[in-house]
Amino acid sequence: MSTSTASDDKNRRVPAGERVADWADGRLGIYSLAKANMRKIFPDHWSFMLGEIALYSFIIIILTGVYLTLFFHPSMNEVVYHGSYVPLQGVRMSEAYASTVDISFDVRGGLLIRQIHHWAALIFLAAMLVHMMRVFFTGAFRKPREVNWLFGFLLFVLGMFTGFTGYSLPDDLLSGTGVRFMQGAILSVPVVGTYLSMFLFGGEFPGGDFVARFYSVHILLLPGIMLGLVVAHLILVFYHKHTQFAGPGRTNRNVVGMPLLPVYMAKAGGFFFLVFGLITIVSAIATINPIWALGPYRPDQVSTGAQPDWYMGFSEGLIRVMPGWEINFLGHTLVLGVFIPLVIFPLVLVAIAVYPFIEGWVTRDNREHHILDRPRNAPTRTAFGVAWLTWYFILLVGGGNDLWATHFHLSINAITWFVRVFFFVGPVIAFVVTKRICLGLQRRDAEKVLHGRESGVIKRLPHGEFIEVHTPLDQADLHRLTAHDQHKPADLGPAVDENGVRRNVGPAEKLRVKLSKGYYGEGSQIPKPTAEEYNEIAAAHGHGHEEITSGKH
């Protein structure tokens, strides 16, 4: 530092830090960048940190993954194991498997890093799903954030496949079964299935190529795309500014919270270490994917309880509950029992991804939304989300049907049939029930606004009547409970135009109006209390039992 060039003002000794900052500013323009962003405001709510959990676990995965690449051999050459794990000594296995066992037992810190990598992956996917559901149920995907919703969705899907290619690398009996499952699904594709399989595996399954190929995909291609998407995702969060829940002083045009520097830098930085620490504790306590106990993959061996990691579990459910249908036609077999699940697999994911666009189309809502909805105030959306989660969960039950059977002493056949029926029925029930619950909660909100909160104090009036004293809500709560918009359902308009000619209304518009009525029509939302109603009731209270409760004020 002492050798750096003299500053403009020779009389003043400029501190070293400032000189470094000046140097950097002259080349990177950090001052204007910092000025624009240091005081960037973020609102405070625990659910806004779910995405942070995902982001930090992603960083942890990258860090630990780099360590693992130093010792992992992505090769299917056959070797005989002579490492320190006795029950495998002398067993023939691929180099990939042998090096993973070595990482677990003979590389310093290898097992812990492997377990951090794998636990962080499970948590990464789980955090992404929960984050996505937070965004969904609060309506944070609405304009202007639809693109960011898609970025997030893509991250989730890419995360699934990065996970799949990752846990397939050790070439153990469990993951090998998973790869075989995938190959079976590819084979079921009509006409091109066999070609695709041969192309992917470089010949017959399993061949000698797939570990090396999955390795490139797992450590380079997919994480590269994901890293780019994460950056884009975060840039958009900055650009759009963060959403906030309704509250006093919070509008669609401001953000109420605390500045990035110093508050959120400290909080987010600290939270990163909390996440890293807690994941490390989990990894030090509980084992994950003990590949040494699973044995090396051999296509002639298989074990019960062969399931994928949880985020692929719904695909396992699809295949497990699908009846084994097939069509034989001119010497060709169409394996519907595998092909139909393969088709439904992306549909399950797409169903939730396209919802924001469907809602946007139905509501024709072109305004920007920066104030979040409370889930109860958007009953149709909330009901759809719960229905989708139910669908997803039922498929997970199907994927683990054997463990449900053994642990709850049930028949696996009965569970399979339950899943088959509830694949169709479950979401419908969940939709109806959730919508009713939302409406009930809206009614309760209206009740609370108009009559206050039940205080639990019972008073006896002079003439003998008992009443429960209600305490009125404060202004902030009143605002919180009444801040949401209530839309009017769309209308087809008059059947004829002003000249008496029949108006031409397309089927899409008819459908849109029908859906809009479902969203906002009668019985789909409880009218929120108006100021007049509130004043009227407050006045009536003044004449009625208000004098009794006045002691509370």
Partner: protein, 269 residues
């Protein structure tokens, strides 16, 4: 007390009361639930077969018939051999408690001496696999790695990678092999109880059975270690996923709530 009554109307009060009530009910049940302690006395015996027949008439004949010929409630026992008796009675599966898709393992109610007498009687009805001697099933010195390979070829389809058990059709299941003695594992392979296929010496020689037993002991026995920490039942990704969601993400969300609750803004009075 004042503090308690102030929180009485808290939105979470009902949840807390429910949890306390559940904990109290469960605790009381655990404390006072009767534990069965039926134990047959040991008796001296003269002729094993003679005594075994007596035991058989009391404990087994109602289903298996007075001479082991079987009935609508139980299969014939002629020719099943003493190994089958030692396994079924020695693991508590027999006498069966109630008919069902499968007879589960339960508390053993006969002493080993009585089991030997029963076995001697059944063996006298017709030739069958005999109870193995210790040098037949003792896994000491057997090749564990070869046992692992054999286990993955012959057993994991039903019993899982490390013998944690698994589901079969219609409510039946392959049991967990943890804590099963080498003798009983050997007998099970030899006789093929219930839904299990049998692996006679002609298809799986004694040496291989020993190796399999050695492998089970190494990965799922008393001395087996779990180098990575809690093995979560050894059930694979399903239990890992459950653990990851509850204790991984759950703890992290709790941490997020904690961080968000400790904020720089002035506290509401």
């Amino acid at each position: 007390m004042k503090k308690l009554s102030a929180r009485r109307r808290h939105p979470l009060a009902a949840v807390v009361v429910l949890l306390l009530a559940l904990a109290a009910t469960g605790g009381l049940y655990a404390a006072f639930a009767p534990a069965g302690t039926a134990q047959a006395d040991e008796t001296a015996q003269s002729l094993a077969i003679e005594e075994g027949k007596k035991l058989y008439s009391v404990g087994c004949a109602s289903c298996h018939g007075t001479g082991g010929q079987g009935s609508s409630d139980g299969p014939p026992l002629v020719g099943v051999g003493s190994a089958a008796v030692d396994f079924q009675v020695g693991t508590g599966r027999m006498p069966a408690q109630q008919p069902g898709v499968q007879v589960p393992k339960k508390k053993v109610i006969y002493s080993q001496a009585e089991i030997d007498q029963l076995a001697a009687y059944i063996a006298s009805l017709g030739a069958g696999p005999i109870i193995p001697t210790e040098n037949q099933y003792d896994p000491a010195g057997a090749d564990v790695a070869r046992g692992g390979d054999l286990f993955r070829t012959n057993c994991t389809q039903c019993h899982n990678f490390t013998g944690e058990g698994g589901a079969l059709t219609g409510g039946k299941s392959a049991p967990n092999l943890e804590g099963v003695s080498p003798k009983h594992i050997y007998e099970a392979m030899q006789t093929g109880p219930q839904n299990m296929p049998s692996f006679p010496d002609s298809t799986m020689p004694e040496e291989q059975k020993k190796e399999i037993i050695a492998y089970i002991q190494a990965v799922n026995g008393e001395k087996a270690s779990s180098p990575g920490g809690l093995k979560l039942g050894g059930l694979g990704p399903v239990s890992e996923g459950l653990f990851g969601w509850i204790f991984g993400l759950g703890v992290l969300i709790a941490a997020a709530v904690w961080v968000a609750a400790h904020t720089a803004k002035a506290k509401k009075s």
